[in-house]
Assembly symmetry: C2
Homo-oligomer: 562 residues x 2
């Protein structure tokens, strides 16, 4: 894996976020009644890039893609599961964290993207507990170091074997001169509420803590001797399952493989298209509205399964965003467009509202919430173009609200007899899809005056033309046909001309006005500092700790404190 | 100013944070009844470092040191002032922001320290309004660009002349490929609550916005034509003064110059000493308790003026911290020690409590709040050593709570007949000194269980020995004489051996558990991203925007988005 660009192993031409349990190389998903077990058993030879082996259950992005997939399957394919136990198949090792040689060799962009995705996976595990009632237990049979302990931190309950050697640790600082950046520091202080001086000790002790002190300092919830460990875990799993509010059906739906065609200039999905203009550094994501009205009943929705339009679209959009993030690094801006009947989109939202108590409807809404958060956190300029024939309504209206700017065309274009552009709001725009700061996108947009949120609420269900949408503050600019082409072209050219890094920093600030949550702190306070450290010679320079790890040579530090 | 180290102008051997109005080169502080005017009139030739001139009211750290001093004088020397107007003496220019050539030539450490100090100054201006009732108006007579507009953002009310050319702008991104990092982005979204898409437009338009749109988009509060501008400002100042709750006396106290002696191995103040062990990379700050009981009355306190022990100590500690931050970059850890009678310290806290309605008592408490926040934000490892003869009580107990760790000696040392170490709490530890996250240091410490705060509260006024203090969670380790030397030595050696950058990131995360405020977002989300950008070749590389600004050559960017 060269500094400039990693060489993907096994002739892969791109990083693929789609997988399925039969293809897993690193995890096993075992389901037994209402208890699932996710067994981590990383295949040393199964690395995503060349140049390193995944020893001691260390992981790279490929391992985490499987974990993310498994969590989706628990949501959709196994609604009867009420608790999931994470454990290791390796003796005396739970997980050694992110692979250090992978990190040492990775480009800066890959490190940043890798951490972002692993963070999103861990947030998804917490969301699974909080909003789907599927509780999680981490059963640590040995060493849980760095990212291994950070994975444990994302579960509801951490159990550690008490055998005199098993320990949890965050050795990133002393060993590698970087931070525990996959939420570790934030979850220690804000989720487990470890006292800050204890956290300081813990994060600077390479070997970590074990036994009673690990419990006393709130780092784990329970320790049990080796001989009783499995029984203790089983008992807790049973107890958690009994307490879980998850009311899923006995049978789930199959998350069938996405149908995708990758071409030179984009990707075609069923309801999504990605069109790449590499010279202009623009990716246009087109969203297609439903082609039929919503099904008659929840049972009919379940029968449609992965073909149910809102579910299909969410999965395809998620894959498209991840593909651009990881495989199309030169893309400066993502343009969202849509085509379809906004009334139909509202009908699907009304259908999901009406069936909100149904497990599948709820999981689909939760999936949309996560996909939209992924959009918010994508470090590309985001713009929505709202044109005649588009269907930015209800759930799809969140994309203009997630965008850095939106442009809406007034009236029709010559020779185009599609209806003028309209956007429409629904209940779903007022709380179902909180951002990581805990607010809806409209509440975040109208921080200055809650009355603006009320005015938007009062307009629910109406087809809002460009001038009305602008008046309500829902779009940035309403333009007529004469100005449209020039304004949009200049904006996109300008965006491609600016420093990509400065745009990343700007957007990471402007998108998240208002309050912060533990989740948003992970992506702001923690991640921004980690990204800084990932640029500092003390970590990544030739004499830095990350490069020298394992060479027998000590790192050489610039000793100035900054 | 070389990349490795700036060359200070005029043979200065260190950056000095002490000044006084008679020595100002860049500001004039004019006081007229209850209205003060701070006139910015930067002396081009008065730069702190060689290699640039401070044209168009651009500023460097030296300019901001004068501003910070002027704000302190308004607090202590002019308690009758109810409103301060910031304006420029230059025609058609308010302020061009931080000097670009200074930034381009500055070391990374200096850029970071410069932004931190200017942020603290702007937060101080807001605190002056919020907690001292001294309102501020920014009267912009022309261009307010970048840091110039950020200074305006820190005031309560922004007035802009409406002459067809005067504008406010944040051109950092398009011009320099960096962020408006002195709070700009955060104040735009969180204080002025500008809609995020409007903010996106504003921050990417080099020339900024003016006139009506600047008002409509909430960027300024009022515009007035040039012929009526001065009268409009005067009228607003009168109105703000009339509404101000500031109830200060007619006469203030003089902030007399600090008495300091700089030596090779430290600095001696009246109540503070700084001892440098350069080989070990440690600075020890010794705090001396009061040598006499508190005065009999508020009048007697006023008569003591700058010699009143809590005020003298706060000013000296502040200067010592700033000196270490900017002039002693190799210091890895700051060790806090104290000597004195803890009961006397408590007596001073009780005196300030009893006189809390008195303007001077209130200003002294607010100064301590700011100094302690400065400690929290200092990127050095902080440790308190609590030994026999020390006086970490009340206000001074905040230093162990601000430290990353604290060590307390159990009992006495052989041959030492001073009383065993004791710490003592007072009312002041439970709310008077919030951190930037809005919580007291004890509430931040005991996030896990508010009952621990209650237990500490119940122990107010008692002399707590080491074991009790540890039991209450107030210190990290209570050690006996046998272990003390080794434990402390190993800790300090370890701290000096770690990557300075990783420690900065770790401490910036662990110190600020819990909620975030606008202020803490500025130091976390915004500053951490800015520091990342300050490391990126697109900004600071030879072909980067900051280096190429003004050369006529366009910057060359790595176009990958990270």
């Amino acid at each position: 894996m060269s500094e400039d660009h990693g060489v993907r192993a096994n002739g892969r031409t791109r990083i693929d976020f789609q997988t399925q349990p039969e293809r897993y190389r690193h995890w096993r998903l075992e389901v037994d009644g209402d208890v699932a077990t996710l067994v981590m058993d990383v295949d040393e030879k199964g690395a995503l890039f060349e140049g390193y082996e995944l020893k001691l259950n260390s992981y790279d992005l490929g391992v985490d893609i499987e974990l993310a997939d498994a969590l989706e399957r628990l949501r959709f394919e196994h609604p009867q599961v009420r608790v999931v136990v994470l454990r290791s198949a390796k003796p005396r090792v739970f997980c050694a964290g992110a692979n250090i040689r992978m990190l040492a060799g990775a480009t800066h962009a890959h490190k940043v993207n890798f951490c972002k995705f692993t963070n999103e996976t861990r947030n998804g595990l917490e969301d699974l507990s909080e909003n789907s009632g599927l509780k999680s237990i981490c059963a640590i049979n040995g060493t849980a170091a760095g990212g291994g302990y950070e994975l444990a931190l994302a579960t509801d309950y951490i159990m550690l074997v008490d055998d005199g050697s098993a320990a949890v640790s965050l050795p990133e600082l002393p060993l590698l001169a970087v931070l525990p950046g996959t939420g570790g520091l934030t979850r220690v202080t804000d989720k487990r509420k470890v006292r800050r001086d204890h956290a300081d000790v813990f994060c600077t002790v390479e070997e970590g803590l074990k036994g009673k002190r690990a419990v006393d300092w709130r780092l784990v919830d329970e320790v049990a001797p080796g001989s009783k460990f499995d029984a203790a875990v089983a008992a807790r799993a049973k107890e958690f399952a009994a307490r879980s509010p998850r009311n899923g059906a006995a049978a789930g739906i199959a998350l069938t493989p996405l149908t995708r065609t990758f071409g030179d200039s984009g990707v075609e999905y069923g309801t999504v298209s990605v069109e790449l203009d590499r010279a202009a550094r623009i990716a246009t994501i087109g969203l297609r509205g439903p082609t039929a009205p919503p099904p008659e009943s929840a049972d009919a929705m379940t029968a449609l399964g992965a073909k149910f339009w809102p579910l299909q679209l969410a999965r395809e959009l998620d894959d498209a965003i991840l593909h651009i993030r990881l495989n199309e690094l030169e893309v400066a801006a993502i343009v969202f467009k849509s085509a379809g009947d906004p009334a139909q989109v509202l009908a699907y939202d009304a259908f999901l509202d009406a069936n909100r108590a149904h497990w599948l409807a709820r999981e689909i809404r939760l999936l949309w919430k996560r996909v939209l958060k992924r959009v918010d956190l994508t470090s590309r300029s985001l713009v929505s173009l709202i044109e005649p024939g588009s269907c930015f309504a209800g759930t799809l209206a969140e994309l203009p609200f997630a965008s850095d700017r939106s442009y809406m065309l007034i009236g029709r274009r010559d020779g185009d007899n599609r209806p003028p552009a309209a956007i429409a709001l629904a209940d779903v725009n007022f709380g179902a899809y909180p951002m990581s700061n805990g607010l809806s996108r409209l509440a975040s947009r109208f921080l200055a005056d809650p009355a603006d949120v009320d005015a938007a609420k009062a307009a629910r269900g109406k087809m809002l033309d460009a001038e009305t949408a602008q008046q309500l503050g829902l779009v940035t600019f309403a333009l007529d046909d004469i100005d449209w082409d020039d304004e949009v072209r200049v904006f996109l050219e300008e965006r491609a001309s600016f420093s990509p890094d400065a745009l990343t920093g700007l957007e990471a600030n402007l998108r998240f006005g208002g309050p912060e949550t533990m989740e948003s702190k992970i992506f702001a306070r923690l991640t921004a500092w980690q990204n800084w450290i990932f640029q500092r010679p003390n970590a990544v320079g030739e004499q830095g700790a990350l490069k020298r790890y394992g060479t027998g040579q000590k790192p050489m530090f610039d000793t100035k404190r900054v």
